[in-house]
Symmetry: C4
Subunit: 224 residues, 4 copies
């Protein structure tokens, strides 16, 4: 990767994460939307961002994915930290935009698409961890920046898991997406934020390990 | 581009914009549809039109996209004006068709899918401008006429932004789509039309600038 | 096309049309489904059938498409008639299957997904004709049997037009799909059947003409 | 296939079936979801699993598909039995995960997405058999592990048939998916389980036979 690309990579991670979080959480908060609509807003935007920012970044828009790429030597540790900071900044600004829109629309602004759960803490870790594991594993096995079809597959896993876990954990599937709204609304979303972030890390590490175990010469041709 | 192709380009821009506006606004006005259905009607038809009219036109169907292509020297300024006129004509005839259908069905015809917003004027500019920025940026980075997959990606961004901004600005995401119905129903839709058109221009110019800044040798291979 | 392929072609047209009509009309009649669900049942099954029966047939599953292919010399007139008969037989058996399922489920069987409209007869011709024109034009310009992506584009136009015209004409978009259920339920569906079939023919002829006018050396490489 | 790939194949069949059954049945049981949402949760996850586990397995995640592949000599009989056992184990653990989540969420756990039908037994056999026939035939003709587009086509047939047969048989479309929840909830789901499994076998055998009859030199290039 050339030197000049560095700043562009961070801009891409920022813009992509902004798009995903703004679109998904605005749909949750401002549109009277059912779980499928919310899932498609998130998953569709991930697919668009994966494909649109290809060539500038590995296109993660998710700290859990960035971490797994670093574990698997596809991303340097220092770069990974830069990506994650750009993602968190994008998510926080996106939630600020949704918050501003909600206030202007005349709502109380207490719902800006934050993640909360009625499960016990260990169960949040299990559910979010398992879901993030699948999201990251699919990313590692199917590089979404290769073809638009692969971008759709990586968006589709977000859609399916979003509707499945709607009543369980929201879900976040991405620590940055959990952080963004929690900063503004505080309360339960902030209180449970540790669970969501920790679950993301656990899912990421497990996916990186299983990905290595499953790797074959055949599959590596396609996914790397 | 050959001389003989000129007229065909305008026919394609007219037919594509007619399809998009007729399908999307008819779904809003005549089908008791939720935001996802409306978003898929618009986004799905854009994807179909992008792919189906490839070879005849750059496939914009949106003045904001045509303007950005002209700024980036991918379309001559005179041609751009022709494209935009064909798009506006297509949108106005499409709304006439929806108006005629609504009357024949026995409704008052006061809802033909026009765009209106409860936001303040500056907020309309911010929201529509930001959304149009993303629509145009994705188009500039992922040429929808190249593969059906890229056409789907460009349709998907319309779906996701349509559901996210449903309660904010409609949204239009395309000045021609805002003009079409406003001509027939007047009132608030006509009153706010300036905001929608101006927001489209601002989003277009910003996307053209950011696209140039983000351009790399690698990405230009794919998106040009 | 070899001699041995002939029978397989008719089996493919029969199976594909059976799948499309059974899936779409069962969703209308037996699932408490909104217009989007119905549109996706029809459009999704068209996409699947287009791709799955490629290599056996041009994959029309729609008399309006078969007619346009014959007009454009892509299908012999005698073969076209065979395809259309296989399509009508598939549609009628599919509606029989839905009728049998409805009775076994304990409904009256008076709703098996038939097409009816509250529009005036000339307006039915205009709406169905215009919609079928777009369906056939997209098919002629984007061969759905070439790639799975093109199959999706041809399915997507069905989804978008189905939701847009849900309250106008159903819609049929395919004379065989209108014939199937009308045979069993009679009444208004049978009374208006002439409108639907005639609209299909008009849309088909117009699409074949416009397709020729729009054809360029560039586009013919891709669509033929 | 190398010796070392064997265990990985079983892990892939286990993980893929776990993903499909957990996502689909959790959506049915825990999200207040309409038939389209449920269909997209199942079909979307199949598409993701088909593409993500390519290179490790033929990617069946369904005993009806594995059986048809064995009949058509694409899978050895001994391997097929191993695949089916891994699939059933994945489905049972997935239902255990959904059961645990339901209890933790405070529901009675009596709905974990099991399949039941109000049809008569012969009609269950006819409906499930016919639907599984189409699912397997599409798989045999369009290898989902080849491109992401083909994976989407195989997911789409699940979406369309799921919404069409929602009120008829659930549907299962996959004996492993019927077995998973029935183990925990018993009752009607367990009582009718024989019908679902038998229907899957009948559909599989019929699809294998029709696939052979329809095979041409042209189509075999693409689907094998």
């Amino acid at each position: 990767m050339e030197e000049a690309l560095f700043l562009k990579t961070y801009v891409a991670e920022f813009l992509g994460t902004f798009m995903v979080v703004a679109t998904g959480t605005a749909t949750m908060a401002l549109t009277n939307a059912d779980p499928l609509t919310i899932g498609l807003a998130f998953g569709g935007t991930y697919a668009v961002a994966y494909y649109a920012f290809d060539g500038l970044t590995l296109g993660e828009f998710n700290p859990a994915v960035s971490l797994a790429l670093a574990i698997n030597h596809q991303l340097k540790w220092a770069e990974m930290i830069g990506h994650v900071l750009a993602q968190i900044l994008g998510a926080i600004l996106a939630s600020g935009f949704v918050y501003l829109s909600a206030i202007n629309l005349g709502t109380t602004g207490s719902n800006i698409g934050q993640t909360t759960s009625n499960l016990t803490d260990p169960m949040i870790l299990l559910v979010e961890g398992l879901l993030t594991f699948f999201v990251v594993l699919v990313y590692l096995r199917v590089n979404p920046t290769e073809t638009s079809g692969a971008a759709l597959i990586n968006g589709l896993v977000i859609v399916a898991l979003s509707v499945a876990a709607y009543s369980l954990t929201g879900p976040a599937l991405n620590p940055a997406r959990a952080i963004g709204p929690a900063v503004y609304v505080g309360g339960k979303a902030l209180f449970q934020l540790g669970d969501y972030v920790l679950a993301g890390l656990i899912g990421s590490v497990c996916a990186a390990i299983i990905h290595r175990l499953l790797k074959t010469d055949h599959s590596s041709q396609k996914t790397d």
